[in-house]
Amino acid sequence: MAGIGRVYPAWTHRVSRAKVHEYARALGEDDPRYLADDDTCVAPPTFAATFTLIPAAEALIGDDGLGATWNLVHGGQAYEYGPRPLQPGDELTCTARIADIRSRRGTDALTVEVDCRYTADDERAVLSTGTIVFFDDQSDGDGGGEA
């Protein structure tokens, strides 16, 4: 697969309080700030998954030059945070870039960085670095191991 360094069109996202609450409940979180109805509300550390994972995967799968399909697993994930947690009302501009591609027999592991910045001042909010393992359609996910 060619494509290291490829950058996809940016998307914007506005953090909503209802989504922060829903995400925190799905994880069984008990920190009251995750469930707060006022300005103290902040998002759990992995909340960025809600607006980075699927848009990034859709960009890759929509890129005919890659030949990637939904036959994939998530191999690894990192988040590097800006100075404060995400809060409801934050307006973000997110840009996905292919940082690395490692091809083995039957699989291509793509490392995708999604750089999420506050739209207002372009400061880093969170940098998501995900490794997505795409299987060749014939191999039927027999690479095993990753979830």
Partner: protein, 148 residues
Amino acid sequence: MSASRLGPDVAVGDDLPVLAQVATLRTSVAYAGASGDLNPLHYDPAVAAEVSPTGNVIAHGMYSMGLASRVVAGWAGGPDRVARLEVRFTRPWPLGSEATFGGTVKEVADDRVVVGMWGKDADGKAMLRGTAVLRRRLSAGDGGGTLD
């Protein structure tokens, strides 16, 4: 907000509390809806039979990272303490099975604490491995910096 454990008493080798969780169709559907990741591998047995590495429905990798992060951020005193998280998903988590999540302090520096994060399946095999970098000081204006 729970109290931070990043004060003067923190030491290399300290263990974080352990969280046990059974992955179920309910937890998987809830995480699918909350995250927007509607890949049927995580709730549809017919699809999982075709594409799952185990042949069965498995939890989202991000659900396991979310739980591992819940342990770390809860122990550290909140998400404002978390500077960086990094994990690898090393084994699938089948629905119906219990996994455990925890961590161990690996490094203590003036400004940060590094924790090794882990998740284990019902057989005690590593399902997730990773690292968390935690802030001992919060930036000015965010509610004060010192820890006692």
